[in-house]
């Protein structure tokens, strides 16, 4: 295939079982049709998977994918996607992470790295421009991901090669089904990619290289990069720069859409104690950013209060999702406890959303008398902290909760599946679906389950176009639109916090792609690409056993009305949601039930 600017032209396939690797060139047309990141990863997963696969089996592929924009001067482009079949959901899982690993990974000379097989013992895969070597990771096994990364980097970078490392923590080693893969304290967080890596006894992957790609029009690229950087410092990103996403908590609480005590309420009476002002009151917050990012949304809080001494040097990156999941969702209002909980999740390598939701679910089960877990009740911070450790190490009740709320509900019984907070097995993030009913649809149809990064339908709820607690048929098209925008951002890859700087996101992305690749992509072509990638994910799920019954929410959201706050009276109507799912499916070119007709697969080039 002729070389395409922005790409290296192929991917590296590593087999851990026999310690071999192979370079595979991209087939003609694949790159333009799937771009990179989550899109190209979806194509790779389908290529590398035959029939239904156990996500923790040796043959299950784990895919790291870079993008054409990585290495360019475009702000927020230093990102990578990791994909596998999720051990939590049994469906496709694509998770994104950021920073120097993306840049160093692409400099290995490959657009993606596919890992199959399983090592005999704990291993670090070292990937460079010259090939792959395998090192023992026995001395890192059992360590946290941060310490592992530091040790591997220290060992490999003695000659200044610039290695970057992605690693798993103890949770990944123990196959916790929502374990993360971490790089530089950032995480490919959702869906249990860390468990897939752990199942292969791959503790870490280190990347470095000296291969750079050419860009089609470097002058134009520099020009639009400068313009994008300038716009990224405007009002559309002020919230992220100054306050961080934690600011959502107070706003959502006021709107009655803050998931509280395992989704029993949309209002948390003590929300103000977790507001940015409260977190800052006796802590010196610092701010940082991913590589190649001008926004700098990461707000780091010291683990200890100012003047407390021990622990003050340890920083905890706080985002809305870990704040809500380890705070209101568990009824915990003490900021110190929430910071400590977040830190423990990071060290163990646990997805904070699924961890908080699993503990909140267990708290409700305990309060209903379905289980007896000493001390575990809503608001009991110390018990929450202990349970995080137990989950990370699969001890006692933590062993059961380590499989997520869907599996836990099956074992606990007593009707607990009605309030186990997940869609397709993926725990619901911090958007109360009864109070944000476009988001409810986004959750229901999401190919990886309930997720706010693959569906930005909360934007539809937070717009003048719909009534957020009484969603109308007009909701469908905008929900498809924001999902299309998200899948494109995940494939180019760009940070979603840039969304607000584009007058028209699709046109804006087409404009960025042209000087990188030389493709004269139109917004129409990009929209078709978005539809292709979403459909490829759906086709993967169907091949892995998806059924239409999965595209819904737990019974709680249909049968229990919110009683507090500004969303009081809201609940989901099952018939209406079902009709919306069908309308969504038809708009995607699928059958009303959500199957993809052969003709549609053919039109999109997915056969």
């Amino acid at each position: 295939m002729a070389s395409i600017p922005g790409y290296h032209g192929g991917y590296l396939r590593i087999d851990l079982t026999d310690r071999t690797s192979q370079r595979i060139e991209w087939p003609e047309g694949v790159l333009r049709r799937f771009i990179g990141g989550a899109g190209l990863g979806a194509w790779l997963l389908r290529e590398e998977t035959e029939g239904e696969v156990d996500p923790l089996a040796a043959e299950a592929p784990l895919v790291f994918v870079f993008s054409p924009l990585v290495g360019s001067p475009l702000t927020t482009s230093a990102k990578f996607a990791v994909l596998s079949k999720s051990p939590l959901t049994g469906r496709i899982n694509d998770s994104l992470s950021s920073s120097h690993f993306a840049i160093a990974g692409k400099r290995t000379g490959h657009d993606a790295i596919v890992i199959v097989g399983s090592a005999e013992a704990a291993t670090t895969a070292v990937v460079t421009s010259d090939g792959v070597r395998f090192e023992s990771a026995e001395s890192e096994w059992g360590l946290g991901s941060r310490e592992t990364g530091q040790r591997v980097k220290q060992r490999l970078n003695r000659s200044g090669e610039g290695f970057q490392v992605a690693a798993i923590g103890p949770a990944g080693e123990r196959l916790v089904r929502y374990a993360t893969i971490s790089h530089d304290a950032r995480h490919a967080g959702r869906g249990g990619l860390g468990a897939v890596m752990g199942s292969k006894r791959l503790k870490a992957i280190a990347v470095a290289g000296d291969r750079r790609v050419e860009f089609a029009d470097p002058g134009r690229l520099l020009e639009i990069s400068k313009d994008l950087s300038k716009r990224s410092l405007g009002p559309a990103t002020a919230k992220y720069r100054e306050l961080g996403t934690i600011d959502n908590l107070v706003t959502f609480n006021r709107l009655g859409s803050l998931p509280t005590r395992n989704f029993q309420s949309g209002v948390f009476a003590e929300a103000s104690s977790l507001a940015p002002e409260s977190l800052e009151a006796d802590r010196d917050r610092t701010r940082t950013s991913c590589a190649a990012c001008t926004i700098g949304c990461e707000h780091i809080f010291p683990l200890a209060r100012s003047g407390d001494g021990d622990g003050n040097e340890v920083g905890v990156r706080m985002e809305y999702e870990n704040l809500f999941a380890l705070g209101p969702l568990c009824g915990v209002s003490d900021p110190q406890t929430v910071l400590a909980a977040s830190h423990r999740c990071d060290e163990l390598g646990l997805d904070t959303i699924s961890t908080g939701a699993s503990i909140a679910f267990a708290m409700e089960c305990a309060e209903r008398g379905l289980v007896e877990i000493p001390g575990l009740r809503f608001g009991e911070g110390e018990a929450m902290l202990g349970m995080i450790d137990d989950i990370g190490h699969r001890r006692d009740w933590g062993d059961m909760l380590a499989d997520g709320t869907r599996a836990a509900a099956e074992r606990i019984g007593g009707g607990s599946h009605e309030f186990a907070p997940h869609v397709k097995g993926l725990e619901i993030p911090g958007y109360e679906p009864r109070a944000m009913q476009a988001m409810a649809l986004g959750f229901a149809v999401g190919t990886r389950g309930a997720d706010h990064n693959r569906s930005g339908a909360y934007e539809v709820d937070f717009s003048p176009d719909v009534d957020r607690i009484d969603a109308s048929p007009q909701t469908i098209e905008p929900v498809v639109r924001v999902e299309d925008e998200a899948v494109l951002m995940d494939s180019l890859i760009l940070c979603k916090f840039l969304r607000g700087v584009f007058e028209d996101r699709i046109s804006g992305m087409a404009e960025l792609l042209a000087p990188v690749t030389g493709w004269d992509v139109t917004p129409e072509e990009l929209l078709e690409t978005a539809g292709r990638i979403v459909t490829a994910k759906k086709a993967y799920n169907i091949a892995q056993g998806w059924t239409p019954a999965e595209d819904t929410l737990p019974l709680r959201f249909f049968e229990e009305t919110l009683v507090e706050g500004e969303s009081a009276g809201a609940r989901l109507d099952p018939d209406r949601l079902s009709a919306q799912v069908k309308a969504y499916n038809l708009l995607r070119g699928w059958t009303a039930q959500g199957y993809v007709p052969d003709e549609r697969l053919a039109v999109l080039g997915l056969t």
């Binding site: 009002p235 919230k239 996403t245 706003t251 006021r254 937070f462 003048p464 957020r468």
Partner: protein
């Protein structure tokens, strides 16, 4: 004059608007039974001129900001009528997290 009319319209601030305003809420348009959202925003900007630098442009919301009436209905339309006793939430347009 009814009690609600006397109470005017409460403008609540969230996010950057709250940080700029330095307060969580103010009450404006006291004495009016109903008023345009634009007039409420204008009154808020007069009471807290710092808002004009970034959040408000006269009676309009600046780019990146949105209003919400009584924590239910989102709008950026300055001509929407607001009643005495209502709450207008001034917040960032991006709810991403």
């Amino acid at each position: 004059m009814s009690g609600e009319t006397a109470n005017g319209v409460t403008v609540e601030f969230f996010g950057i608007a709250r940080r700029r305003a330095g307060t969580t809420r103010i009450v404006v348009c006291k004495g009016a039974e109903s008023t345009r959202l634009g007039d409420v925003l204008l009154a808020a900007a007069e009471a807290l001129p710092v808002l004009s630098r970034e959040c408000l442009d006269g009676s309009q919301l600046r780019e990146g900001y949105l209003a919400n009436i009584n924590a239910r209905r989102f709008t950026s339309d300055s001509d929407v009528l607001v009643q005495a006793g209502d709450h207008v939430l001034l917040l960032g347009a991006d709810a991403g997290g």
